[in-house]
Point group: C2
Chain length 458, copies 2
C-alpha cells in the first residue's frame, strides 16, 4: 500500500480506461489492487460501464486471482458473472472455490445450472454437495465447510505436523484440528499452537482437551454467532444429532452472519420487510415498495383505531378544542418512552442479561423510572401550558396527569411486550419501534380523553 | 459436555450450595464448568448471594483458572472483584492477564490502584503500559496488544518455527507473524500456515507478501472492524504515523467491538443516551432516567411545535372537528415512512453501497417509491372514509391528498437527512427513528392543515 494513489482513484482510472476500450492498460491498473479491492472495482464496473466490460475485465485476471476475486463478490454480482461466462469457466471457478463459498454460490444458482455443474463432478462430491445444499438456510449446516483437518489420536505430534503440511493448503483452517473416533464421533480438539509448542514425540491422545464446545448442524446461525462471541474461537466444530463431526465454521464467516443479523434487527425496528443482501440502489422501485408497504398498511390500520377513539370523544373535543393541541405531544412522548424501554429490554435479552423470569423486576424498575420521568416532563408542561399558552388550569392538569399515566403505561408495555414476544416465540425486535408506537398511540389517546372527561366534569 | 446436567442447572446448584455454606461441594461443582461458564456462574453469584460468596468462590478456583475466568467477566464485575481482594491477588491477576485484557482492566480502575500496581512492574513494562493507557478510547491503539510474534527477514523457515516454539505461549496469536526492518517499520506478514507448509530451508524474505493491510493506532474501532469484515483476517497489524509496527488486533476482540457499535446504533435509534456496557438490571433507576430523559425532553419540545401548528388552525378544526380524527393516522404513517427510508439509507452508507454523491439518485428513487405507496394508502383511506366513516368528500379528498404529500415528503427527508448528517459529521444513526419522526410530525401536521384550508375554501 505504498501506492501514491488510493484504491478508489485506481478504480476510477480503470473505469475511464475501460470506457476508452484500453483494456490492456486497465488490466495493468487492476493488477496493482489486492483481491478484495479488485472485487470492489468489478462491482463498480458492473454498475457503470456494465456487464460486457466486467466480463472482459474478469477474463483478463490471472486464473487463480479470478477465483479469489469471485469469492469476494456479493451474491447478486456472482450470479451476473456466472450467467455471462461459459459453462467451462463456471466449472473452473466452482472447482477452485473453497467448499463453503461454492455451496453459497450453488444455493443461489437456478437448479438447471446446478445440475449441469454437478454432472461433471464425481459421485462422492455430488453426494456431499447435495447434503450441504439441503441444510436449512441460516442453519449451522449451511455455514460450515467439510474442509477441516482431522488427526488420529494415536498419531505423534511429528506425524500430525507432517499430515498438516500435506493437506494444509486445501483446508479452510489449519489452526484448529479435530480428532474423531472410529464412528466419526468428535472426541477432541487440538490447536496448531499446542502442536507447534509440543515435543514432536508426544501423542495426540495426551493433548486432547475434554472441554469441547460445538454446535449442531441444525442450530440457528444466531446461536452459532453467540457461541463465537462467548468463547472468541477461530473455528467451531459442527456435529450431527449423533455427535458425529460433519464440518466446521470459521470466524470470518461469522463476521458476515453478525452483520446480517444486525441488519435484520434494524430493519425490523424500522418496519421494513427483510430485503436480503440487496443494495439500496440496485433494488427496483417495486421491490422497495414491496418491502415497505405491508408494514405501513398494518400500522396505518392500527392508527385508524386511534382515530376511532378520537371520534368517540368528538363532543368533548369540540367543547375544548385546545385538547387537540397537546395530543401529538403526548402521543409522541408515549411512543418514544415505550421504544426506549423496549430497545433496552431487547438488548438485555440478546446479550443474556435478562431472562423471562426477570419480568417482575423489569416491571418494577420501569414503573419507578417512568414515574420520575413522567413527573419531570409534567412539570415542564405545567409551566408551559399555564404561563406560555395561557390555557385553563383544567387543561394543564389534564395534560400533566395524562403525561404521568401515559409514560408509565408506555414504559411498562415497552418493557414487557418484548419479553412476551420471546415467550410465545416471536422475534422481540419486531416489538422495538413501530409496533410499540402504534400500541402506545392507542393507549395515550384513550388515557388522555378519559382523563379529560373526568377532570372537566369536576 | 457429556454432562447430563446443563451449565445452567449446575450454576443453580452452585448458588444453592453457597447459600447453604457448603463451599467445598460448590467448588467441586464449579470445576465441571469451563472458564466461560465459570465466569457466568460468578456473575450470577455476584448478583444473588453477593460479593462475599463470589470472592470465596473466586479464591477457591485454581490460580491459573481464576485469571482466565477473570478475563471473561464484564468490566463492572471485574472492578467489584478487584476491590474486594487483596493487592497481592490483584497484582497476580494483572501479571497473568493477556496484555490487552490487562490494559482494559487498568483503564477502568481508579488512578490510585493503577499507580499501586504499576509500582511493582519494571520500568520498561510501566512505560509500555502508560503508552497503551493513553490511546483514545475506541481507537485501534486501545484495542491492540504488543504480544505478537516478530520474525527477521533473514531467518529461515526452520529458525522461524524454532522462534515461534520458544515464544509462542506468551503471544496473543502465533498464526500471523510480522516482519519489521531495523527502524521497526512493518515490511511484511507471514502466516503460520505458510510457514508450516514451506520447506524449512526457505528464507522468510522470500515468503513476504507485499500486499499488507494495516490500520493506524488512531483509527476508530469502527474502521478496524470494517477492515476485518472486508478481509476476513484473524489479526491485523497496527502501525503509528511513521508506519512502525506498534501492536496487533485479533479477531476475537473485534467481535466485541462489532457488538458494541451495534448496541450504540440501536440505542441511538431508540433515543437512549449511551449506557455503555451496563446491564439493564444493574443500572440504578436514576442512571436509567439520566440516559432516557434528555432525548425525551428534546423530542417533547419538538412535538410542542406540532401543537403550535394545530393551535394556529384551531378555527378550522372547530369547524371541521373530524379533521382531528385522521391526524394521528397521517402523522404515524409519515413517521413510519420516514424511518423506513432513513434506516435503509443509513444501512446502505454503513456497508458502503451508498456514497454522498448518490444523493440525487436516492431522492429520485424515494420520490417514485413514495408516490406508489402514497397512492395505494390513499385509495384504502378514500374507501374507508367515504363508505365506512361516511364523511364528506371534502374530508376524504383532504386526507388522501395529504397522504400522498406527507409520505413523499417524509420519505425524501428520511432518505436525505442521514446523508446530510454524515456530510456535516454527525452520526447518521441519530437520524434513524426519533429525530425523523419529530420532523415528519411537524411537516405532516402543516401539510394536512394547509391542504385542508385550501380544499375547504373551494
Amino acid at each position: 500500500m505504498e501506492n501514491e494513489r488510493s484504491p478508489e482513484e485506481i478504480i476510477v482510472r480503470i473505469i475511464e480506461l475501460l470506457d476508452a476500450k484500453k483494456y490492456i492498460r486497465a488490466r495493468d491498473e487492476i493488477l496493482s489492487l489486492d483481491a478484495v479491492e479488485t472485487a470492489e472495482a468489478l462491482e463498480e464496473v458492473l454498475e457503470k460501464p456494465g456487464i460486457e466490460c466486467a466480463v472482459i475485465l474478469f477474463r483478463m485476471l490471472p486464473k487463480d486471482v479470478s477465483v479469489e476475486v469471485f469469492s469476494y463478490l456479493p451474491v447478486d454480482d456472482q450470479l451476473t458473472i456466472v450467467n455471462a461466462i461459459t459453462d467451462k469457466e463456471v466449472k473452473y471457478i466452482i472447482d477452485e472455490l473453497d467448499f463453503d463459498d461454492m455451496i453459497d454460490v450453488l444455493e443461489e444458482l437456478p437448479a438447471n445450472i446446478v445440475d449441469k455443474i454437478l454432472e461433471k463432478t464425481t459421485k462422492e462430491e455430488r453426494k456431499l454437495i447435495n447434503t450441504f445444499l439441503h441444510y436449512p438456510e441460516d442453519s449451522a449446516g449451511s455455514l460450515m465447510t467439510p474442509d477441516y483437518i482431522s488427526l488420529q489420536k494415536n498419531m505423534t505430534v511429528g506425524e500430525a505436523m507432517a499430515h498438516i503440511r500435506a493437506v494444509g493448503m486445501d483446508s479452510e483452517t489449519i489452526y484448529t484440528c479435530y480428532v474423531k473416533d472410529r464412528g466419526r464421533k468428535l472426541i477432541g480438539i487440538v490447536s496448531l499452537r499446542a502442536l507447534v509448542v509440543a515435543e514432536s514425540g508426544m501423542f495426540i491422545s495426551d493433548m486432547l482437551n475434554g472441554d469441547m464446545v460445538y454446535v449442531n448442524v441444525y442450530d440457528d446461525q444466531e446461536k452459532v454467532s453467540e457461541t463465537f462471541k462467548r468463547y472468541g474461537f477461530l473455528a467451531i466444530p459442527v456435529v450431527d444429532n449423533e455427535q458425529r463431526l460433519v464440518g466446521i465454521i470459521t470466524v470470518d464467516d461469522i463476521l458476515d452472519v453478525i452483520e446480517e443479523e444486525y441488519n435484520e434487527d434494524v430493519e425490523r425496528m424500522a418496519g421494513v420487510l427483510d430485503s436480503g443482501d440487496a443494495d439500496y440502489l440496485d433494488m427496483g422501485v417495486f421491490r422497495h415498495v414491496g418491502s415497505r408497504l405491508p408494514w405501513l398498511i398494518f400500522l396505518m390500520i392500527s392508527a385508524m383505531l386511534t382515530g376511532t377513539i378520537i371520534r368517540s370523544f368528538e363532543s368533548l373535543l369540540s367543547n375544548v378544542i385546545s385538547l387537540a393541541v397537546y395530543l401529538p405531544m403526548l402521543m409522541g412522548t408515549g411512543g418514544n418512552s415505550g421504544s426506549q424501554s423496549a430497545t433496552l429490554v431487547i438488548r438485555g435479552m440478546a446479550v443474556g442479561d435478562l431472562e423471562l423470569r426477570d419480568a417482575a423486576r423489569v416491571l418494577w424498575k420501569e414503573v419507578r423510572i417512568s414515574f420520575i420521568i413522567g413527573v419531570v416532563l409534567s412539570c415542564l408542561n405545567f409551566a408551559k401550558i399555564l404561563f406560555l399558552d395561557r390555557e385553563s388550569l383544567y387543561v394543564a392538569v389534564t395534560v400533566c396527569v395524562s403525561m404521568v399515566v401515559i409514560v408509565t403505561l408506555a414504559k411498562c408495555i415497552g418493557g414487557l411486550l418484548p419479553m412476551l414476544a420471546k415467550r410465545i416465540g416471536i422475534d422481540p425486535a419486531l416489538m422495538a419501534a413501530p409496533m410499540i408506537s402504534s400500541l402506545t398511540d392507542l393507549i395515550s389517546c384513550m388515557s388522555y380523553f378519559a382523563l379529560a372527561t373526568l377532570i372537566f366534569r369536576l
